[in-house]
């Protein structure tokens, strides 16, 4: 196909312009508003850029911008704790998922070829069903007179019902449960690609199985570990639904703090500043993830 034809250009242009207008430009607006002040107005921030006022309008506009919102984020420990708590929950739950997900992915990759598509589908299926519904299902189970307490009491493990909800434990359970497929699938993809003649060679040369796993299989699965880690860690840092429905109200994750600033306090500039800082924190992992994706695509060919 000739790359110069106008049809090709049009093909590229439509999705390109769409993403520039609805993905890139909005971030610039978020950045701009993070430098504004809240106001009792519609929209609730100042200054508003007035194109009709011309050059003097632009000067007024630039003079009205300030870094006050960022100073607020730095001075109030609520925000700092919120960021730290989000990073902690994301790191710990990603680590838990790696420990749970690795044996599952490994088992899948060693199953009979004919079974593997079925197993992959079984892992993907929960990921297609609503995130919200999967979190909601856990409220059912974790509440005070819920199934978990009933089972534990029937087994005699606990005497009193445990308050599972409104705790960090509940957040971890909800997040690990909903993101697990995102961890298992990249791990499986990496493990499934491993050339098993390498392991045969190791076995022929007298290498014990645990050792060949540690020296051959595990290092070869690093791309899968990296992809699974990033695919889970990045969105979990900004997670809202799981901590909001399952967690307590003492310390909020940053997604909830942003939500509260926006919806309860109607402080759009502060919410924007929170988003800008969050994005800055996540920029390095996001760029790393993109490079990984690019490399995976070129390798597949």
């Amino acid at each position: 196909m000739s790359d110069r034809s106008w049809t090709t250009r049009l093909l590229i242009l439509a999705p390109y312009l769409w993403l520039v207008a609805l993905f890139l430009v909005p971030f610039l607006i978020v950045f701009k508003i993070s430098l504004s002040q809240t106001a009792l107005a519609q929209p609730p921030y100042l200054p508003v850029f007035d194109v009709s006022a011309g050059l003097s309008g632009a000067v007024d506009f630039l003079g009205g911008l300030s870094a006050d919102n960022y100073r607020l984020l730095g001075s109030d420990t609520i925000y700092i704790f919120s960021y730290l708590k989000s990073l902690q929950i994301a790191a710990v739950s990603t680590a838990i998922m790696l420990v749970i997900g690795y044996p599952v992915a490994y088992g899948m990759s060693r199953a009979r070829r004919a079974w593997q598509p079925l197993l992959v589908m079984l892992i993907i299926l929960p990921f297609w069903t609503s995130f919200l519904i999967r979190i909601y299902a856990w409220i059912n189970i974790l509440q005070r007179d819920g199934l978990l307490n009933q089972v534990l009491m029937a087994l005699g493990i606990i005497d009193e019902p445990v308050a599972w909800l409104a705790s960090d434990t509940a957040i971890y359970i909800g997040i690990v449960y909903s993101y697990l497929p995102f961890m298992v699938l990249p791990l499986y993809a990496a493990l499934e690609k491993i050339d098993y003649t390498l392991l045969e060679a190791a076995a022929d040369l007298g290498c014990p199985r645990w050792k060949s796993f540690w020296l051959v299989t595990f290092p070869l699965s690093f791309p899968g570990i990296a992809a699974g880690f990033l695919l889970c860690f990045i969105p979990i840092v900004g997670e809202f639904v799981a901590p909001d429905l399952l967690g307590g109200s003492e310390t909020l994750m940053i997604g909830q703090t942003l939500w509260t600033e926006f919806f309860s306090n109607k402080d759009w500039p502060a919410a924007s500043a929170i988003a800008v800082v969050l994005l800055t924190l996540l920029l390095a992992p996001i760029l790393f993830y993109e490079r990984l994706q690019q490399r995976a695509l070129t390798e597949n060919r």
């Binding site: 034809s5 909005p26 297609w128 999967r134 299902a137 697990l180 695919l231 639904v241 926006f262």
Partner: protein
Amino acid sequence: MKRGLSTFNVVAVALGLAFLYLPITILMLYSFNASHLVTVWGGWSLQWYGELLHDQALLEAAWVSLRIGLISATAATILGTLGALALRNKRFRGRLLFSGMVYAPLVMPEVITGLSLLLLFVAVGIDRGFWTIALAHTTLTMCFVTVIVQSRLLTVDRSLEEAAVDLGCPPWKTLLTVTLPLIAPAIVAGWMLAFSLSLDDLVIASFTTGPGATTLPLRIYSEARLGVKPEINAICTIVVAVVALATVAASLAAKRTSLEDEHERDALAAQV
């Protein structure tokens, strides 16, 4: 080395699947509970499904979600497929930026995407509601479509298209009669993923919604905050069942096409 499952592998996979499926199964089970108390089993009953039919607000929300899903999934599939075709071009101005914009939304925290889209809609002065949610969902889900279609395109043999062009077929006709049929399973899968993501989204819809546009997740969320209700169990069961059936049907269809591919490959291999 022999393939097949050792005890350890069987247990790992079985426990993993049990963890993934048990909570949803329990939720579905309790939607058939006759008891008013959500935690006490009182025998089988369909009464909560009956009550759904009288819950006007919930039905309204389901209808809104369905329409937004259909519209945004279709728009996202067209844009996303075009995006994947564009990315096949190895060099064009701004390719790096374009692929960056395609991959970033896949991992971007939803609160950031939602907030930024809302501020855009306010800045350009669009009234928020049904159409702003549809625009937001199209933007998010088209990136998923691009990724799915792009990975399928990598498996397409370019010589087929080159042959068509060599024989005088114009590029647009090559695209329609050669390329698109080859990537059709991925396009269908992309549409379905876009639809189910749209049906699922709470956070982005919360930011971009306006008066009169309450989607099903928004409705379920406001109920779920007040605790578990049997009617919500019932509507969740319906949503899960519909999405699961559609997914299984689509992947069976895709599997049949890939099996045919495999047969052809085996036949070829036998000849060599």
